[in-house]
Symmetry: C2
Subunit: 129 residues, 2 copies
């Protein structure tokens, strides 16, 4: 019985603390190289507010191609590394740790790693109000 | 005129790429020491979906005390360091990089840095559906 209670406890703990889920994307949105997506919440846990909450790692030389956010927006928050953010009007802006790259709903963006190290960021897709 | 257009461009770029906004909280939610909040989105940019999206840094020995999320939830995603996450039923779970600590809406949680380095995480508060 003591053993049974221990197992029950372990299952419970597993449900509230879990590991990120890694997926590799190749030439994402028409970009270059591989991009690693570490999913924090699956869409079903976002309760209808959005569809992506992830840490994204772009190795040196890789990029996410320009794409449009119809009906949602996606701020990027740079954790580490250096890159170029392309905003809705095509401006190319150098970005690094602590930068927040925003677009309005319906606009497009792209990002590329122009440094020697990994470019690491958090991305959050929220639906238009 | 050329100068004027340049200034206009700079203002536009500033609007889409900006720096995180740092705030220091002392004994947050009844916890210990100082906690550094680097706000990624202010609530008004979350379009009614939530009220906080931030990187949070807990120096060694600091903590965020136990608090309840009435009407919302707040996953913590650990980027760096080691700590103890206290979940809704009081279980104390060791956590480190790549761990996602979830609670259901209406439940409580706490977190403390039990390591020698900073404990760094992303927090996202989403409203109940």
């Amino acid at each position: 019985m003591f053993h049974g209670r221990f197992l029950e406890k372990r299952r419970e703990v597993k449900a509230v603390v879990r590991k990120e889920n890694r997926i590799v994307r190749h030439e994402m949105r028409g970009g270059k190289g591989d991009v690693y997506m570490y999913h924090i919440l699956p869409q079903e846990e976002m309760m209808g507010h959005g569809r992506l909450f992830a840490r994204i790692v772009l190795p040196a030389g890789s990029s996410i191609g320009r794409h449009t956010h119809e009906g949602d927006t996606e701020p990027y928050y740079i954790l580490r590394g250096n890159g170029i953010f392309t905003d809705a009007d095509g401006s190319r802006v150098p970005v690094g740790p602590g930068d927040i790259c925003t677009i309005a709903c319906g606009e497009s963006h792209a990002i590329e790693n122009t440094g020697e190290e990994d470019l690491e960021m958090i991305a959050l897709v929220l639906f238009e109000a």
